[in-house]
């Protein structure tokens, strides 16, 4: 029983279909404090959908999402209160375009967490410094580059003091020279002990930074393990095939 308690997230038999297209098939998955989990796999394998289901941006068809042992898919559970504790960083940044960089990082703290304006500002500035975006507090999202937007998005999510941070292909929409600055920020976060779930195509990040790598294929978790094991000694033929294809292109 005490084993259940220590998991931040425990996902049981999660399934999701869009119409007749089954995207996730009976997924079981555990996230513990301090885990940095990279989810890799071909496009269309269900990685992003899994992440969006975990954050309830998509409603799963069946299964359980236990957050500290409480099923978030049960009746009477507030999705928004749960989301305030599980941050998310999107491929397309999704910064609020009607606000400045600083306002982006403050609005959630003020309206959702009920923090005072000076508190929220101090907290936002702390994380904006960490991601190196403090100089740009007065800029609007349309005035900064993709890499900078993503760093602000990370600061916005972190300012809410989430227990887990989900990253949905955070570098896929970036020009090559901006990928590095975002990965550097994510690496720092991981080293500071943040629990992270990262859907990514960046194999070097998965290999060097994560504590566990999950390989998804056709809506199931085909294989998972420590990066050293999965990258050097994959057991499934399809994992071997995927890694061979991706690694010869990337590394």
């Amino acid at each position: 029983m005490s084993g259940v308690e220590k998991h931040i997230l425990q996902i049981n038999h999660l399934s999701k279909a869009f119409g007749s297209n089954v995207v996730l098939k009976d997924i079981d998955f555990i996230v513990d404090k301090g885990d940095v989990i990279s989810i890799i796999g071909a496009s269309g394998s269900g990685k992003s959908t899994l992440l969006r289901c975990i954050n309830l941006l998509e409603t799963p068809n069946s299964g359980e999402i236990l957050f500290h042992g409480v099923n978030m898919l049960g009746r009477g559970v507030s999705a928004s209160r749960y989301r305030a504790r599980v941050g998310m960083v999107f491929q397309s940044f999704n910064l609020f375009s009607n606000m400045t960089v600083l306002q982006n990082c403050m609005v959630g703290q003020i309206r959702v967490l009920g923090r005072s304006r000076p508190d929220a500002k101090a907290h936002a500035m702390e994380y904006l410094e960490k991601v190196g975006m403090a100089p740009y507090v007065n800029a609007k999202p349309r005035q900064i580059s993709g890499g900078q937007k993503q760093r602000v998005a990370i600061a916005r999510a972190m300012a809410m003091d989430p227990e887990v941070l989900l990253f949905d292909e955070p570098t896929s929409a970036l020009d090559p020279e901006m990928v590095g600055e975002v990965l550097a920020v994510m690496k720092n976060l991981a080293e500071s002990g943040m629990t992270m779930l990262v859907v990514t195509h960046e194999m070097s990040f998965a290999r060097d930074v994560s504590t566990r790598v999950v390989y998804m294929c056709d809506g199931v978790i085909l294989e998972q393990g420590p990066p050293a094991e999965l990258f050097t000694n994959p057991r499934q033929p399809r994992t071997q095939e995927f890694l061979r294809r991706v690694l010869e292109r990337q590394l």
Binding site: S97, Y136, K140, G147, G180
Partner: protein, 277 residues
């Protein structure tokens, strides 16, 4: 040429006698159009928000039925008030209320009746504009708000509606200008607007054409000033295109200085030679 000097003289004569009534008509028209447009926008925004409350198979059945009912009511409201002339709506409301209540209830003043009719009419148009404005905001904005724990109301008021408002500013301006002109039908219930001033002036002086000229010039002036002010307001809403940099950003790498642990890019090597060189 002779006719034009005659026209000028007639206008001067009209203005001398009825100038004050024209001017107070202009004032009443502008106030009615402004108040009607603002209240109409408010109605439109409320309808737009109610119309876009999401529900799905997992929503509680009672809530789902309630939300469906709201959408039907808004739909009927929009279709009825967009589909009938405002001049008839004015008559319908102004005389309908005492008719149904045996004169125990009637509009306290012409102003109240006129504002109610113009607001409700504008609201019907704005409901659809606001819905369009909300749809036009990138769905990622809503997801970003939800992802930091905002509920539907917070998402709407902090993120979606400010952007939707900016997107539909031209439509709001359109509605205001239409209201400046179309409130002229309120003479039917005796509202003393700019057009009513014309009817009063020509009833006594019989100078139909000169008074119509005054009216044309008056309405055009009002609408031109309105469009000018609206453009200015839009620019204000967009804000400045420059911003102050507080200090240097240490993390941004200039193009080409790609820096990732253990990885290079296809561009790091020598650039391919151009043909013909």
């Amino acid at each position: 040429m002779n006719k034009f000097t005659q026209l000028g003289a007639d206008i001067v004569k009209l203005w001398g006698k009825y100038g004050n009534s024209y001017l107070s008509g202009v004032g009443n028209t502008l106030v009615l159009a402004l108040v009607g447009t603002l209240l109409g926008c408010l109605i439109g925004f409320v309808c737009g928000v109610l119309n876009t409350i999401p529900f799905g198979p997992s929503t509680h059945p009672v809530k789902r039925i309630f939300l469906r009912l709201i959408r039907v009511i808004i739909r009927v409201y929009v279709e009825v008030f967009r589909g009938t002339p405002m001049v008839l709506q004015a008559v319908f409301f102004y005389y309908g209320l005492p008719y149904f209540t045996n004169n125990t209830l009637k509009f306290a003043s012409i102003w109240a009746a006129a504002i109610v009719v113009v607001s409700i009419n504008t609201g019907a148009y704005m409901a659809e504009s606001v819905r369009g404005g909300i749809i036009s905001v990138d769905p990622g904005q809503g997801e970003g708000a939800k992802a930091i724990g905002m509920n539907h109301f917070q998402t709407m008021t902090s993120v979606i509606l400010p952007q939707a408002l900016r997107n539909i500013m031209p439509q709001i301006g359109n509605n205001f200008i239409i209201n400046v002109k179309d409130t002229s039908v309120m003479f039917i219930i005796g509202f003393p607007d700019f057009f009513a001033a014309h009817r009063a002036a020509v009833g006594a002086s019989l100078l139909y054409f000169p008074s119509a000229t005054v009216e044309m010039a008056g309405y055009l002036t009002m609408t031109l000033i309105a469009s000018f002010l609206l453009r200015w307001l839009e620019r204000r809403l967009d804000g400045s295109s420059s911003y102050e940099l507080v200090q240097e950003d240490a993390l941004t790498l200039t193009a080409g200085t790609y820096n990732h642990p253990g990885r290079s890019t296809p561009f790091d090597g020598e650039m391919p030679r151009r043909k013909g060189r």
